[in-house]
């Protein structure tokens, strides 16, 4: 194959790579858009139950540090989402909520646990102790109170998922720019 043919082939490959990246970008756009729409809906439901002014950016803790950040690879320039969260012992507010909840659940299961010995069943942890994970003291949900509407938790889940997609979009945007330049150079070389 002569040089011109190789240049044309190179240009075709570059364009195909660009189009693949573009398809991925549009897919990430669509999924992030859908997640954001669902998040806005959940937020509206939460506001309807808790009050409009109760759920607003004004609840942001003045000294809070972010729990969702990004890490940029120094070699490749890849961007990835990093979530920080202690997952350690809950702070006082969350601990009170946990104790309160466990107390309620213990009363319900106390009869069952009392019967365990008579039934000869192997002793087991009460379900609430195995299911109850320590609350994250850095969780932004805590800014809105201890008992938040379930819709607010749903909204948080949607926006977290949307953030994953948005960081992926940022990564794809950088890749698109790079492949666009490569395709442009390949096309110019093929025309020469």
């Amino acid at each position: 194959m002569d040089a011109h043919g190789e240049a044309c082939q190179e240009a075709d490959s570059s364009l195909l790579a660009l189009l693949d990246c573009l398809a991925e970008y549009q897919g990430a756009r669509a999924s992030s858009g859908a997640l954001l729409r669902q998040g806005f809906f959940d937020l509206a439901v939460a506001r309807r139950s808790a009050g409009y002014r109760w759920i607003s950016p004004g609840r942001h803790h003045g000294n809070a540090r972010c729990t969702a950040s990004v890490a940029i690879d120094g070699h490749s320039g890849d961007i990835r989402l990093v979530r920080s969260g202690s997952g350690h012992a809950p702070d006082t507010a969350a601990r009170v909520a946990d104790d309160h909840d466990q107390g309620v659940r213990r009363r319900r299961h106390q009869h069952a646990s009392d019967n365990e010995g008579s039934d000869g069943a192997a002793s087991q942890l009460p379900p609430e102790e195995s299911e109850c994970a320590p609350a994250d003291p850095d969780d932004p949900l805590l800014w809105f109170g201890v008992l938040v509407p379930p819709a607010l938790r749903d909204a948080q889940g949607r926006f977290r998922a949307a953030l994953d997609q948005l960081v992926r979009l940022a990564q794809l945007k950088a890749q698109l720019a790079q492949r666009r330049q490569q395709a442009h150079r390949a096309i110019e070389a093929a025309r020469a």
Binding site: R29, G33, A68, G74, A155, L169, R180
Partner: protein, 120 residues
Amino acid sequence: MAQHAAHKNRTLIAAIGDEDTVTGLLLAGIGDVNAQQQANFLVVEAKTTQEQIEDTFLAFTKRPDVAIVLINQHIAESIRGILDEYDAAFPTVLEIPSKDHPYDPEKDSVLKRVQLLFGD
């Protein structure tokens, strides 16, 4: 590779959006206030001026710790001139839909540049 290494300290995601968008993103955990009491988000309300939005956008793009700037597309339209002039790799600027303004692909600068390549 050296240019990527220079951006390793960029970890924050900044946001310029309406109340719903910023509330949701804060719930997702992006909210940060540094030691100089500079927040990485701006809530755009009816009384927010275009100058404030422009100043905040420029401030976010000049911060060495910001990696991504998320901005509602309808707010981006109000500062389109500055956005079109911005071509740095980092922080990356991403336009996102809001509750009342769905995403319009015809205004996506990324897609516009690809279309230019194909001669559209």
